[in-house]
Amino acid sequence: MLKIDTLTKRFGDKTAVDAATIHVTEPRMIGIIGRSGAGKSTLLRMLNRLSDATEGSITFDGEEITALRGAAKRDWQSRCAMIFQQFNLVPRMDVVSNVLHGTLNKRSTFATMFNLYPQSDIHRAIEILDRLGIAEQAPKRAEALSGGQQQRVAIARALMQDPRIILADEPIASLDPMNAQIVMDALRRIHEEDGRMVIANLHTLDTARRYCDRVIGMRDGRIVFDGTPAQLTTGVARDIYGAGADFSEAATSTAIETLDSHEARKAKAYV
């Protein structure tokens, strides 16, 4: 289905992503973990074609993605939705308009400039918002919403694109634990109910473990781990993060449950 072959991205003499090879045969929920600067975001941005690869190729259902230009590239972007850490909504526009931006690729520039979306699209946008539990916010400006609500609007925009793949670049990094759980649950539900592939950059190990079918670990631009959450032992995690023996998973956790666990208390003692 999705094949990434020796994908490389260099900025000057610095290699951000170094010959990444990932094969995905069926829609899965995939988590990419690693330290900041490990190349996770760059990898996702290349998948969405927000930035161009230096070398290597991406193929999806036999179609070469890295070679797409112009309208074909924008068509791919509409099939491969992206969710950002800072939500990247248009703050002064209302929630439904932001969700309707998911249809921009299918509509003419003129129609979108004058806000002439078909009524069926507006209905669908509100249905998606209802599915994510924020339909009451529909007429409000995006900037008036809390972080967790804004991220759900961003997910709604992604769903509006009706994509095969949803890429999520640190979707919960700017959220509090409660909202982080709501957003991750929503992504998981979209994966399970709609059968869409979800690839998420995550900065906490336990989130990757809890929500993903497959975990990919990156370090200094290279893929150093690719397996199931069960295979992701503490030793492997130490390798991925380049951490010493005092590394504890719970120390970076944002999940609410970890607060109760004995490990968390131990981790606190280190701080």
């Binding site: 002439l116 209802d130 529909a138 649950d185």
Partner: protein, 293 residues
């Protein structure tokens, strides 16, 4: 772990309600948008018709002649292209005079605009109650055309660069004061509060707390104004303020035969604008990147 945390799904009735009210909002917005567009088109058409009626020649009759004058100037300048470098050198002192007028008036106008802008910005003003007074004062400065002030001053003080300088400075103070105050409105007030907590005076708070934040924007606006002022001081030369404008009027009024001089003056003006544009973008970059202060 999925459903419960997503918030309770709305009943069919409430989602219908949300839909209906949002669609009503969309309809209303489209109606307003359409009305605004109609008014705009009407104003355009009616304004054009009024202007066309009052025109001596008529817009459509004259349209095809629009290129005639530049073509004549270019043709003559091309014929006498050998003289151009000499003419450029000849008019260079006049250019210096023009730039001088522009530079002095920009400096004076920017300084006055700076003070006026801080006095008329909400949250920063020294006397908040007087904000409307300073605003109207700047409005008046902007409203009167430079050329009117210059003509009055030339009548009083006699011809020369000083009336032009004063006229441009007054307009600059009004225009920059308005732009500066819009930038200052977006300045972060936290540093100002920090300085206030140390017992700083108003001038100290402005100079040390606000100016460092707004300096790059102020500088780029001031440099843009300088470009506009070069052109303005050239135009004021037409009414006797000296400089490049005076020479341009002479060469243009003479008609064919001295178009090469007009071309040389245009080259000088164009080159000056390009030069200062490049200069301003460079300095603006340096300021925003924080290499120089």
């Amino acid at each position: 772990m999925t459903d419960a945390t997503l918030g309770t799904p709305n009943g069919a009735r409430s989602i219908d309600h949300i839909r209906a009210s949002y669609l009503a909002q969309v309809q209303r917005r489209r109606l307003y948008g359409g009305l605004v567009l109609m008014i705009f088109v009407l104003l355009m058409v009616s304004g054009f018709m009024v202007a066309d009626d009052r025109n001596a020649g008529g817009f459509w009759d004259g349209l095809h002649q629009i290129g005639d004058y530049p073509a004549e100037v270019l043709a003559e300048a091309w014929q006498k292209r050998a003289d151009l470098p000499g003419l450029v050198v000849e008019f260079f002192p006049a250019l210096i005079e023009t730039i001088n007028i522009a530079a002095v008036s920009t400096l004076i106008g920017a300084a006055a605009g700076l003070v006026l802008s801080l006095l008329s910005t909400r949250g920063l003003a020294r006397w908040p109650r007087l904000i409307p007074v300073f605003r109207r004062f700047m409005d008046i400065m902007r409203a009167v055309p430079e050329i009117v002030i210059a003509l009055v001053l030339i009548f009083v003080l006699g011809g020369g660069p000083v009336p032009a300088m004063i006229a441009i400075a007054i307009h600059t103070a009004g225009a920059l004061g308005k732009m500066f105050s819009e930038v200052a409105e977006n300045a972060d007030l936290k540093p100002v509060e920090g300085l206030a907590s140390t017992g700083a005076t108003w001038a100290q708070k402005m100079w040390l707390g606000v100016l460092p934040q707004v300096a790059p924007n102020y500088l780029s606006y001031a440099l843009l104004r300088f470009e506009i002022n070069i052109r303005a001081s050239a135009i004021l030369g037409f009414v006797g303020a000296g400089g490049l404008g005076y020479e341009l009027r002479n060469s243009m009024a003479w008609g064919p035969g001295r178009f090469d001089e007009a071309a040389a003056i245009f080259i000088l003006l164009f080159g000056t604008i390009v030069f200062f544009d490049q200069l301003s973008s460079r300095y603006r970059n340096r300021l925003t990147e924080g290499h120089a202060a």
